[in-house]
Structure formats: structure tokens, C-alpha cells
């Protein structure tokens, strides 16, 4: 499998601890993610749905470690990347592109400069800082802009593009990375229906033609049903559903968004462990200053 996520957990108010029991015991607020496991194969189109605050953005950002997970393991391309040091993490991030709800372009730079940013991970500090790209890289950037239909906007500043155009620049930037996986955090949440469809079609095409795996956070369930190979339902930081679009019945959707437990009979809900093991409890006792007494 290209990507394997095991028992991923994140608690915002506890910095990285060695064990889960400690964070569970010390945190007053609920964990943003707990015990999330799934796998993603090459060329798969997976959407993550769930109510706002369910932990969708947190999950995606843990996968490329923009957010450090509190616990769990992430395997990418046969390699554990959960604890990779910075230098090697950069090399992994080149292959895990990301696109965002707010496009996150450097809005004072032109479209083509933004697309070329996708190469930064491949360049040394000096060339990258000064924006010295090779002729090949430049040619490829123009090609990709053409491909997303923005060839004539190459020298337009990013803040002068429409929302849909910005998102397509964002996609071109991620393709510049030659990624194996694309993480898309609500890529169409700020777009009109027509641009939304265009972006979704583009992503779908990437999975088919280039074998790129797309993991897409969505809150438009209809789009999720239409485009996904697989749908993952998150609620309150836990995975409460996983299945194909056909298996995602209205009752399942309602249960993901409203937490109606009765219709969940055939959906496996991963139960959190009831209590930490004695070893974990001992580790916690050895750290009395972590603010447990509240």
C-alpha cells in the first residue's frame, strides 16, 4: 500500500508525549483525532466527510506532518515517516502535495512563480531562495499551466485571478512536485458550482491518468458520492464509517453528521482502549509535573 495510517491520534493541548495514556489523562479537551486507521492505494480517490470540527483538516495535515501527530504510525511508500527528521521529511513532502480551501498562493507573485514553488523541495537552499529554476522546470511549469487552462495567465499576479483560477494554479503547483499523493483540504469549499465541478473533474482525471492518489476533505456530500472510490466518515475525531459510494446510504450520512447510533449497526466503530496498560500508567506516574491535577 502506498499509504498506511495506523491508530493516528492528535491532541492539540498536549505536546508530543511518548504514550497515549498520558495525553488522555491530562487533556481536558477532547482529542482532535483518535485511533484513525486506513490505507490508500495508488490512484485511489478517497474523500473524508464529516461535520465541521470532526478533525478532517487535522487528519490531512498529520499525513504530511504539517501537524505532528500525538500518536500512531504513518507509513508512506513502505517507510515509516512518523518520526522522520526535518531534512528527510522535506524529501517525503515533495511526493505528498497539498491543495487548500484558500488556495494559499503567494498572492503578490505571478501564477507561473507560484507554480514553480512546487519545485522548491527539489532545489538547494540558494537556488530555491533566489528562484533560480532550470529551463526544464520553467518549460514544465508553463506546460502545467496550459494543462489547467491558464496558459495565458502565466504572468498575471495571483491576487488578480478568480477563485477557480487560483485553485487551478494550486493544482498546477502540486503537480510540479511530481507527487504520488495529493491531500486536498476542502478544495472547492470557496468555489461556485461550475468551478467546483471543474476542480473535482481535474482531480479525478489525475487519479486515472497519472495514478496519483487523492485524499479529499469535502463537505459537499453529493460531490463525495459522485467522485469517490471510497468514503471515510469522521465524527469527533474518530473514524465512524468507511465504504464505497454505494455503501454510503442516506442513513449512513445522517449518522456521520448527526451521530444517530441506531443506524450504525453494521458500521464498525473503533472503540478506544478502556484504560492504559500498567506500563503506561507507570510512565505517567513518573511525570507528575504534567499538569494532571486540575
Amino acid at each position: 500500500m502506498l499509504l498506511e495510517v495506523q491508530d493516528l491520534g492528535k491532541s492539540y493541548d498536549a505536546p508530543r508525549r511518548r504514550n497515549k495514556a498520558a495525553t488522555d489523562a491530562t487533556s481536558g479537551t477532547p482529542r482532535a483525532l483518535s485511533g484513525v486507521s486506513f490505507t490508500a492505494g495508488q490512484g485511489e480517490f478517497i474523500t473524508v466527510i464529516g461535520p465541521s470540527g470532526a478533525g478532517k483538516s487535522t487528519l490531512l495535515r498529520c499525513l504530511n506532518r504539517l501537524i505532528e501527530p500525538t500518536d500512531g504510525v504513518i507509513n508512506f511508500n513502505g517507510r515509516d515517516i512518523t518520526h522522520l527528521p526535518n531534512g528527510r521529511l522535506r524529501k517525503v513532502r515533495r511526493e505528498i502535495a497539498m491543495i487548500f480551501q484558500n488556495y494559499n498562493l503567494v498572492y503578490r507573485l505571478t501564477a507561473i512563480q507560484n507554480v514553480l514553488h512546487g519545485r522548491l523541495g527539489y532545489k538547494n537552499a540558494l537556488a530555491g531562495s533566489l528562484g533560480l529554476y532550470t529551463e526544464d522546470e520553467k518549460a514544465r511549469a508553463f506546460e502545467l499551466l496550459d494543462e489547467v487552462g491558464l496558459g495565458e495567465f502565466a504572468y498575471r499576479r495571483a491576487d488578480q485571478l478568480s477563485g477557480g483560477q487560483k485553485q487551478r494554479v494550486g493544482i498546477a503547483r502540486s503537480l510540479m512536485q511530481d507527487p504520488k499523493v495529493m491531500l486536498c483540504d476542502e478544495p472547492i469549499a470557496s468555489l461556485d458550482p461550475k468551478s467546483s465541478r471543474m476542480v473535482m473533474e481535474t482531480l479525478r482525471r489525475l487519479t486515472r491518468e497519472r495514478g496519483i492518489t487523492c485524499i479529499v476533505n469535502l463537505h459537499q456530500v453529493d460531490f463525495a458520492l459522485e467522485y469517490s472510490d471510497r468514503i471515510i466518515g469522521l465524527r469527533a475525531g474518530e473514524k465512524v464509517f468507511e465504504g464505497t459510494a454505494d455503501e454510503t446510504t442516506p442513513a449512513v450520512i445522517r449518522s456521520i453528521y448527526e451521530g444517530d447510533a441506531e443506524v450504525m449497526v453494521d458500521v464498525p466503530v473503533e472503540m478506544p482502549e478502556a484504560a492504559g496498560s500498567p506500563i503506561e500508567a507507570g510512565a505517567f506516574a513518573a511525570e507528575p509535573a504534567t499538569g494532571g491535577a486540575q
Binding site: V106, R108, S129, R173
Partner: protein, 281 residues
Amino acid sequence: MSAEAQALQGAPGNGRARTVDLAWFRRRQIRTILGVVAVVVAFQLCSMVCNFSLTYAIGSVPAAFVWMFQNFIPTAESLANFSLVLEQTISTALDSVAATVIAAIVGIVLSVLGSSTIGVSFAPVRGLIRAIASIFRNIPMIAWALLLLLSFKQNEFTGFLALFLTTFGQLTRFFLDTFDEIPTGPIEALKSCGASYWQIVFQAGLPLAVADLMSWMLYMVETNIRSATLIGLLTGTGIGFVFNLYYTSFRYDTAGLVIVVTIVFVLVIEAVSNVARRSMI
């Protein structure tokens, strides 16, 4: 309680009863009036203590201006010194531009490292940079000039250093605010591309901040040309020295010429920097 007031306050049992308090407007008016009265009283008290008479002050201002105009109007005779005045004005202006630019360069480096958006992750370093900026900013330029006079004596470098140190403090402070306010989205995006720290600084941090940085720098160039004139009085250099020379020897016409040339210079610099600002938006 009248029926009307009860109705306005809504249901009493409701925890967040919607209260429409009409007396609020009256209280506000009274507060405004009290504020004005307090200012007037304070002014009167202070005037009495310092023997300051408003009527005398207002009465004597026109006379003072008339005297100034009569004495400080550059005469044909003073134009003989024009080339000296111009030369010294240019030299002072260049001095302050140099001090400001160097201060800006140091300020950009420090404020990048100290900012909350693209700064170093080690918090004490960020705190230290903020502290340094505050200290240098809050020591007045004249104090620096006087201090530096002790060790560097009267020369160009003393003035330059005094300008540099305060400008550096001030600009670092402004630049920190600028970098703190750049959007974090593009930074996150570059991080996700695998960009390294300095790549992010140069490819996202600086482009997003550069217009504001330049605007602050130009503003400091303008103020520094004025300040440099004053500092020159102390350090015996530049246009400040020329002014002092003619002023203390009662050659008011040439002193007036210095003022006129300085004002024209500041206006020109302001116009140029406004054009530069507009072209950078």
C-alpha cells in the same frame, strides 16, 4: 417599574434577557460633557502653575511670525552661500538615507527571525529580538547622540550611528508587526511542497511583506532627514552645523536659507517616496 420598562426588558426568567436601556444614551452624553470639563479644568490648572497665558500666547504668535519672516527671509546676499547650503543638505540627506537603509537591512534580518509567522521556532530568541528592538527604539535619538559624542567626538560618524541605532530599533519594531501579519496559508503551502526555511523566507515571507517593509523604510528616510538636521547641531556636521553657525552669528538670512532648502528637500523626498510607494502596491 413601569409597564413599558418591563416590556423592554423582556421576560425576567430568561437568563439572557434582552434589555433595551434607554438611559444608556443619557449616561454617554454626561460622560462626554464631564470629559470636556475635565480637560478644560486641567488646562487652566496647568496654565496657572506655569504662568502660561493663552491670550498672551495667541496675541504674540502673529508678531513672532512677522519677526521671523522679516529676519529669516533669505536675502540676495545670503544666496552667495547657496552652494554650501545645498552641498551640506545633500550630504546630510545622503547620510540619513544610508543610515536608514543599513538599519532596514539589519531590521529585516532580525524581524524575520523574531516574527511569529516565519521566525525561529525557539521562543526565547524571538523574545530577545523583541526586547532589543524595544530598548533601541525607546532611547531617544538625542540621548544616543549625546552618549556617542562622549566616545566618538564631533564627527559625521557620531550622527550616523545615532541615526542608525534609533532607526534600527524603530524599523525592527515595525517590521516585526509586518511579518507577524502576513498570511500563514502560503507559508504552510510552501512547507507542504518540501521547501526549506530560507526558501520559505525568500519565496513567501519577503514577497508578502515587501510593500509594507519599503513603505516603513521610506517613512523613516523622511523623518530621518529632519532628525539628521537636529543631530548635526550636536555633532557639528552637515546642514545642522551650517544652520547653527549662521544662527549664532546673527546671520538670520542664511539660516533662513538653510530652513528653506531643507523644507524643499524634505518635500521632494516625500514626493519621491509617495511615487515609489504607489508603484509597489
